[in-house]
Amino acid sequence: MRSDVIRIYKSVHTWTGIIAGMALFIAFYTGALTVFKEPLARWLSPPGAGVAAVSLAQTPALIVETIARHPEAARDFRLHLHPAEHRPARLTWQVRAAGADDHDQLSVRHYAATLAADGAASTGAVQASQLAEFIDVLHRVVGLPVDNDPNRWIMGAVAILYALALISGLIVLLPSLVKDFFALRVGRNPKRVWLDAHNVVGIVSLPFHLVMALTATVFAFHDGIYDLQDRILHGGRLETAFQGRAAPARQAARDPAELLAPAALIERVHALAPDFSPTMLQYLQVTGPRPLVRVWGHDESALSPRALGGFALLDPYTGKVLSTDYLSGRQDGPHTTVSSFFALHFATFGGVPVQWMYFLLGLAGAWLFYGGNLLWVETRRRKAARDGGAPPEQRRDVRLMAAATVGVCLGCVCGVSLTIVAGKWLHGHVADLTVWHRHVYYAVFFAAVGWAFLRGAARASVHLLAAAALFTFLIPLTTLLARLFPGLGLWAHGSPASLGVDLTALAGGLCFVWMAWATARRVRHGPADSVWSARDAQPMPLVPAGQGESPAAPR
């Protein structure tokens, strides 16, 4: 391939990577955590009545009484089949705030219904933390606070830049791809180390990243894509096309007392797909003319078409199966093809082992973007003359980029860890925990960014890695304190999912300690002619461009 062509693609790769890199770091770090959204929610959920307080046989009465008291629940309520810490009761429903975006899960109010000791229904708002959802929002809109159209479009633009960076990076590497495959040369040339470290992850996990780039772009613009599809292909009748195989519209409203018992619905699905394990029944419009129930669950041998799993669509009054298009293990070829993209993004196949693989690949992705920025910094390093002398001052743009990379990336890590911890410590002390998750995260994030610019990348990287370690250790420490001192008002669950969060945080904290130690060593004893040296580093002087730079130094 011609060298001038390679040079063009290298420029494209550099600039797309630099523009999108920090946003992608946030998307991948929080995305890795979102793989374990459910364990996180379980770790943080306070003890409650839970699913087991109401037997499945008692649920028909609970449904009738709940809808009588809260007619709005009939629009969409869920019946949970298995107990878990984050399931506050057998029956739950959500009410979206007026005017909120369809995707804005953080504006949703959660309600639950259970049966009291005397058999009467007890309903009320759930004060549980939306931490896992908040981290998911950070993932979906690259660190922005709300999942709405403009923020999704920003995420879509970032995803397009990401795709461009992947393709251009591949083209740049093509000439040496075979020769340098698996090469990670650790030596005295830091640029070579960062380049190899970046290339190993980028090339080997390229299919993973291509799927992520493609699906993220579609997720960002899917509302617009559907609108366009509706106008061009469906003549404005797309919604009716989706309802084509649903229950025929009835004229009269239905009485929830006539609903088929949940056990009977589960039995119908079991007869249809014996390997499918139901986890939840989602009732839709049960008092309306077109009542539906989705029986959600998993088939361990098949992929799940959605993050929640797969579902069979039934008439909740007759038990008639209306659709198996989204039923795991029973999908036809076209639906399996489309569902594969969802499954490959959400890691909803292969069970827990694949969730761990995605977690690690997600962290490797975050490392890819962090390393890419460090490579940009290293490439523009001004080296000291071979015959010694004072180390040259590094370029201002390089110092700023190094500070921004350290501040944004480690600020995200610190903010996420501390907001997880805050979920337990602030519970019961603040009115709206979800709002406080935002406050804590962004306070830490912006403080980290400010600190990085104030102290310079070298010193701040050590401080922020130490802070990341401390905040991450606070997660298992909080659990330990809850066990040792019950009077603190904290709680600690003993489920493997909940303990898994503590153990993972402990391992993460140890990794950050090691990184802080290695970085501190580099900062103190590494070559002084680098933005990563504190021997020469000065606090980030925000002087006008051009001042303070050595005119003799190469640009």
């Binding site: 698996f182 090469a183 650790v186 996990s205 594969s340 694949v354």
Partner: protein, 90 residues
């Protein structure tokens, strides 16, 4: 984790190690394994791993699981080599 899934992942791990150690860029050993036999052996182990995964998963899922596992391993193996190089410090 089902038994055949664990077996499939272990076989694939062995296959990936074989393929990695056959690379001239490997850093685990002082000298790379002979390329052709190691790569053929690695490929066979990967095929055996896929066959084991097919016992627990539908074909498309088995393929996805294996691909995801390979990507993770081929990222990790060079990094392990860099963190713990052979005694000659390569």
């Amino acid at each position: 984790m089902a038994g055949m899934t664990a077996l499939g992942l272990l076989l694939a791990l062995a296959g990936c190690v074989g393929i990695y150690l056959a690379s001239p860029n490997q850093r685990w050993l002082a000298a790379a394994w002979p390329a052709t036999p190691a790569r053929i052996g690695g490929g066979l182990l990967l095929a055996a791993g896929l066959a084991a995964l097919l016992q627990d998963f539908q074909a498309v899922v088995a393929g996805f699981v294996l691909a995801t596992w390979l990507m993770l391993l081929f990222v990790l193996l060079p990094y392990l080599g860099a963190l713990f190089p052979d005694k000659k410090g390569r």
